[in-house]
């Protein structure tokens, strides 16, 4: 790390710079008299930019940080007329602006017929350029020569260096942020940025200099992370996808991909969140790099398996050349950058609730398990139809605050300029909607317990189970303990894993490919987003032994009630299905204790583990190295972390089974990165 990078990192981490921002919340209500979406958009953008002041922090060479911590309000009759977070969770095609530069795009736009759409695009570019000019002047005045020089070229023209390319992107992201676009991701940064990077290398720019630029860029995109609107701090969609394969199956992991990994490793900051595309052909060395990063305890990289994802997307109707260009939306949904407006997280299915409702209603009249499963399928179908009906038209999607027009996103979405239609008005290619499948493990475990105790072993009668569930197991501790001892996902037990397969099959079969009435289809997935808590709260006790309101597993993972045999069994449990059939996204999540990494063998072994996941046909994997925060929480709420395994010296145990003094001891020993 160069001194400059070190200084910048210190500045970032001590957070003092944030004081330079204004905490004031501007109110534009009444100032914006526009009526149309575009009118409001450009008026809001203009007003915001007028208020934004150039802020230069320490050694930052990028600028374009927000001078207001909060977005301005803009209401009409008490209703937000320019709400945030729309559109969100998307990846644009940055190169559509970057390659030609804004001037050329503008020239092209001026030759288009005059209408609201093109006018809005032009207006957005004009406002951007005007703001950049003001910024450039401020850079000069504050002695920031490098930035001043670069702004003489970008964003008007195509970048002439890697630094200018990063700056170009920073400007775009800034514009997106001040116009309330949230969770817009970096996508395949190592691919679209590579030409600029390579040109620098060819011109003789040293690796060290490029690395410093990249590190400074990564730090600069962390400066505003606290101003994002997310479910949790850090939930800001600043994710980046590295690597992947071309149509011929060759790896496109390049020098820049590696450098991004290395910068992330060295900086240890929360953004960008790295996703690594891997496959059977990924060399061990990439897994090792990934494992080193996992060790940092930041929760990334997340892995996506091309062998499963690409065929899965093709099955859903994506063109093969688009499928191989996939990236992930803010969290994990697989989308194609700059090729439409997909809302892969528009809604979510609560499997455990469906199962509980089916059991309440049909357990008594189901003479065998197969009959009960028929009811489960019907329950899933009914829920699918209910959810689809909520979103099956543009009008309804708009009611739910989706599909707002955006001139800036249209500029970076293929086909919009040509078709003259907004990216949210179907000017591009893909308009699919996705439905998460939350709590698959709770649902499967619950049905497995019913199958075993009611139908196979006949060790309890139906009325007793229904009464116990109704009473949240109060007065039924022995029964609950028996239910807890039934087969659970995560232990490589076909008894329950097969049921999970059936549930996913019902879900996929009845949802995938169904039209969504906006020119696209529905996609079924294995994610949960934040629903694992929210759905948990509204779902009463389930036959797997889970009590009222307890959370579900995060995404595609064993429940909190299960005691998985270990990571190998967990991988097997969660890869027994053809995951390419349920490819909206949603990772198997596994926690590793940081002790795994006590010596370098650990990295090697974690690398092997990820490789085994990929070879097993898993679609997406998230590995967490446990951090202090979680252990502290586990101390206060041991019931939430029954499976937290800690390795201390030569032995392993469940964290909750240790005496508090030993827990404290582990807390003291464990080194964590924040």
């Amino acid at each position: 790390m160069t001194e400059r990078v070190q200084r910048m990192k210190r500045l970032l981490l001590d957070r003092e710079y944030r004081k330079e921002r204004s905490e004031e919340i501007l109110d534009f209500s009444g100032d914006i008299d526009a009526q149309t979406d575009y009118g409001i958009f450009t008026a809001y953008m203009q007003k915001t930019l007028e208020n934004e002041k150039p802020l230069f922090y320490g050694d930052d060479i990028f600028g374009f940080n927000r001078s207001y911590a909060h977005s301005a309000i803009c209401e009409d009759n008490g209703q937000p007329c320019f709400p945030s977070h729309i559109p969100c969770n998307n990846t644009p095609d940055y190169s559509l602006l970057m390659k030609p530069g804004l001037d050329r795009v503008m020239t092209e736009l001026r030759q288009k017929p005059k209408n609201d759409f093109y006018d809005a695009l032009i207006k957005v570019l004009e406002l951007t350029l005007a703001f950049c000019d003001r910024y450039r002047q401020a850079a000069l005045e504050s002695g920031n020569q490098k930035l001043y020089d670069a702004l003489s070229n970008v964003p008007r023209n195509s970048p002439t260096s890697f630094y200018e390319a990063c700056l170009f992107q920073k400007i775009i992201i800034f514009i997106l942020r001040v116009t309330k676009h949230e969770h817009i991701t970096y996508g395949r940064f190592d691919q679209y940025m590579y030409p600029y990077f390579k040109a620098d290398l060819d011109r003789g720019v040293s690796q060290e200099e490029l690395f410093e630029t990249l590190e400074l860029y990564f730090l600069s995109i962390n400066l505003d992370t606290d101003t994002y609107i997310g479910m949790q701090a850090g939930d800001n969609g600043q994710s980046m996808v590295l690597g992947g394969f071309d149509a011929a199956g060759n790896s496109v992991f390049n020098e820049l991909s590696r450098m991004c990994m290395e910068a992330s490793l060295e900086l240890e900051v929360i953004d960008p969140k790295i996703n690594l595309r891997v496959s059977k052909r990924t060399p061990d060395e990439h897994y090792r790099l990934g494992a080193q990063l996992t060790k940092k305890g930041l929760g990334f990289p997340q892995y996506c398996n091309d062998d499963v994802v690409v065929p899965g997307l093709i099955k859903l109707g994506y063109a093969p050349e688009d499928a191989i260009d996939y990236t992930v939306a803010a969290c994990w949904e697989f989308i194609i950058p700059g090729k439409g407006l997909e809302a892969p997280n528009v809604t979510a299915m609560n499997f455990p609730l469906v199962v509980r409702e089916v059991i309440d209603r049909h357990l008594m009249d189901s003479p065998d398990f197969a009959t009960l499963m028929k009811h489960v399928e019907q329950g899933i179908i009914d829920k699918i139809e209910f959810l689809r009906a909520r979103y099956n038209s543009l009008e309804k999607l708009r009611q739910h605050r989706w599909y707002r027009c955006s001139p800036i996103m249209s500029l970076m979405t293929q086909g919009c300029m040509e078709s003259g239609k907004d990216f949210a008005r179907f000017g591009s290619h893909y308009y699919n909607l996705g439905c998460h499948g939350a709590g698959i493990s709770t649902a499967a475990d619950s049905l497995a317990a019913v199958k075993k105790m009611i139908y196979d072993d006949q060790s309890i009668d139906k009325t007793t189970l229904l009464t116990a569930l109704k009473n949240n197991f109060e007065g039924f501790a022995p029964l609950r303990n028996q239910l807890l001892a039934c087969p659970k996902m995560g232990s490589d037990d076909d008894y329950v894993d097969a049921i999970a397969g059936q549930i996913m099959d019902y879900f996929a079969k009845n949802l995938n490919g169904k039209p969504n009435n906006i020119g696209g289809i529905w996609r079924a997935g294995t994610g949960s987003a934040m629903e694992y808590v929210r759905f948990g709260k509204v779902t009463p006790a389930t036959p797997d032994g889970r009590m009222n309101g307890e959370p579900l597993a995060c995404s595609f993972s064993p429940t909190l009630q299960a005691k998985p045999k270990g990571p190998l069994s967990t991988i097997r449990s969660f890869t027994k299905f053809d995951l390419s059939n349920i490819i909206n996204g949603g990772p198997l999540t596994m926690e590793l204790h940081s002790n795994v990494f006590r010596n370098t063998d650990g990295e090697e072994k974690v690398a092997s583990l990820v490789k085994l996941f990929v070879l097993s046909g898993g679609h997406q994997l998230q590995l967490n190295t446990l951090n202090r925060q979680q252990l502290l929480d586990a101390q206060e709420h041991p019931e939430k972390y029954p499976n937290l395994v800690v390795r201390v010296w030569g032995w392993s145990g469940y964290f909750r089974e240790l005496d508090p003094e030993y827990q404290n001891h582990i807390l003291q020993r464990t080194q964590f990165m924040v």
Partner: protein, 276 residues
């Protein structure tokens, strides 16, 4: 049949690659610092974890003053479990089999640990035989076994993790309950067998981390041409599991003193040190 108390799937410190480790129940030694007390008895035991306990007493009431199968059933917090399973070698292998390709793909294998695996020779040998040619087999042992049993086990595995605790036989008896003669004898056999192995020393403060003991150990190893050792510094958390068994953790050494590793002594004898 064999008695086991746990099977781990990702033990990162029990040999090369990703390994499954079978922890066998029962050990003839009684090391004062033992961190796996549930591995000492050959019999199954009911254990009660402490965290989340409501102290409602239901468990003991159900078992008439002791923990029984009924205690498992009545605990509202699901804190009681039976530690220890009787399992046939066939069933044991069946449990491992589905994951063998994963172990092999990572350059790993199966490790039999404990307790003391050599204390259940029939079960151990059958398992090792069944895994022959299928994966990389290792045993982790205190070496406390007859010459014959040790030789049989050695034939059936590719790798040995061998503990050396104390050189002085009196002290060895005092701290582990047994004489170390056969342990040193078997170590000699191992060191001269040509079989890949690693020596491990649990470093216990003021017990075996003394300059005296370390020097004797290093001398002994170097005479046999051993060139590497792994040290496991004693960890305060070693006593964590005793309460679960309703036992008290009593030591005559001070667990809070950090042990000395005396790496320079090993290095003096040409032995490379890795601290785990």
């Amino acid at each position: 049949m064999g008695a086991i108390f746990s099977v781990e799937e990702f033990s990162t410190f029990d040999g090369p690659g990703i390994r499954m480790t079978v922890f066998m129940k029962g050990c003839p030694l009684r090391c004062m610092w033992c961190h796996n007390p549930e591995g000492q008895s050959f019999h199954s035991q009911y254990v009660r974890s402490q965290n989340g306990c409501l102290h409602c007493g239901a468990c003991l009431a159900a078992g008439g003053g002791i923990l029984t199968a009924d205690s498992i059933s009545v605990c509202p917090q699901n804190l009681i479990r039976l530690c220890g399973t009787e399992i046939s070698p066939e069933a044991m292998i069946q449990e491992i089999e589905g994951k063998l390709w994963m172990l092999n793909a990572s350059g790993g294998g199966v490790t039999f640990s404990g307790g003391e695996p050599l204390a259940q020779p029939d079960f151990l040998m059958s398992c090792l035989d069944m895994l022959e040619g299928k994966t990389h087999r290792a045993i982790q042992t205190s070496g406390f076994a007859s010459k014959e049993i040790f030789a049989e086990a050695l034939k059936r595995c590719e790798y040995v993790l061998y503990d050396l605790k104390l050189m002085d036989s009196e002290l060895h008896k005092k701290y582990t309950g047994v004489d170390n003669r056969c342990i040193l004898e078997n170590y000699r056999t191992l060191a001269t067998s040509g079989k890949p192995f690693i020596t491990r020393i649990p470093l216990i403060p003021c017990v075996n981390d003394t300059l005296d003991n370390i020097t004797q150990t290093a001398q002994f190893m170097s005479q046999l041409g051993v060139t590497k050792v792994e040290l496991l510094p004693y960890n305060k958390a070693a006593g964590a599991k005793y309460k679960m068994l309703g036992r008290e953790y009593i030591t005559d050494f001070d667990p809070s003193v950090p042990p000395q590793s005396h790496t320079e002594v090993f290095e003096h004898y040409g032995i490379g040190v890795k601290i785990l």
